[in-house]
Symmetry: C2
Subunit: 253 residues, 2 copies
Amino acid sequence: MNQTIQTQLNHRTIREFKDTPIGAEVLDTLYNVANRTASSNGLQSFSIIRVTDKKKRQQIAEVCNQSYVIDVPELLIFVVDCYRNAKIAQEQGIGEDYRVSMDSFFQGFTDGCIAAQNTQIAAESLGIGTVYFGSILNDSAKIIEILGLPSYTFPIVGTGLGYPNQEPKLKPRMDIPLKVFKNTYQSEDNYLEAIRDYDKEFENYYDLRFPDRSLDPFSSQVLRALQNPNPKRVKLLNVVEEQGFNLSLDSIK
Amino acid sequence: MNQTIQTQLNHRTIREFKDTPIGAEVLDTLYNVANRTASSNGLQSFSIIRVTDKKKRQQIAEVCNQSYVIDVPELLIFVVDCYRNAKIAQEQGIGEDYRVSMDSFFQGFTDGCIAAQNTQIAAESLGIGTVYFGSILNDSAKIIEILGLPSYTFPIVGTGLGYPNQEPKLKPRMDIPLKVFKNTYQSEDNYLEAIRDYDKEFENYYDLRFPDRSLDPFSSQVLRALQNPNPKRVKLLNVVEEQGFNLSLDSIK
């Protein structure tokens, strides 16, 4: 057990922050960490948009339906960036009608995710609290417009950073034997039975966003999430295609 | 600067490992770290397959076209796992013909990526060397078969872990001002000009895989990668659809 792993095991999402700004030197360190992250084929197919403009923050908060997007001290949006490399290839004559593949898209998506996580851990190791905003994908087309994202780019996830002004409890996690398998995927005969204790744990967990009540059991949260898909989020691939990526589908079923 | 950030800034891919196995206690710590990683909507839509079976290792190495997949002390494959939650919903009556959305797919992809990166940093903080195997996607259908992955799952990335038996130099990275923007994406008028110094840096970098020569300039690597797409990788979405995900496309162009 060392400082790094203690930080990681102690991870919790922070949603209330002190006004203390994050210093320029700290931000530079975080960018360096992001930049040193592994990347698919070494192609570094991601970028970061730091959003400081209050009007853009407001617009993003509306997409996210989360007001703390406006006031979080720092907001970094990680994006798939295949634009930069497509330009580098076009300047060498690959042709203006070239379309970037979904292989490149997924390489960029992976690069951006792992860079985001690397950044968050670096921040947390410095006592900074973090929150992921997956909710930017509630309306990916709108985020593309707000940030002026060119073709061959796509938003992945936002991350909010600031010194914590709350101390949430560790959120319960499903048991590892349901998630880690040896050589072959192992299915359960009865998942509700397998997660019975986990479901009960939520009765003892209080989310600081809803201090007056305990959470619903995990199984109820899953059912609600899957029964109420967000109509724009499920059509994300249409926006990916509009951004110029070649979906390369054999057919539509 | 602390231990965590030193580890992160010191990241390099390791491809040669000592025979020393990774102890069971260390593996348990890594699983705990993976399990404590943030997750989209708290749904924890990823799983890990630890591959120890030598026949499976051989098959995966053929997909990856990387022989060190066989002998790396530990091989963990991170997968999108929407199967577990679909089952939890089905056991509560959501209907057997339910199809999981691409929103859930991307949530799972994000969850798996950030858990993989969290795991790698924990490992590196303990002196373990790491390598990502994005090459498992050279043939995602084959990986699904080898690991017995059920519907609503999909391989993301593999990670190899072991005590390093080599000391590669830090690999050059593109300058941060090309990757980090304020409020709006900033395009360059001439990328080849902007990365001229970076291209030159590769002349001083020797990859331990090719000790007798320096690397091609970055711009040449980009052109080669984009000119020679892998035919199976670009059609990855077809396999995603075969795994039961609803692509929800308005049309095919």
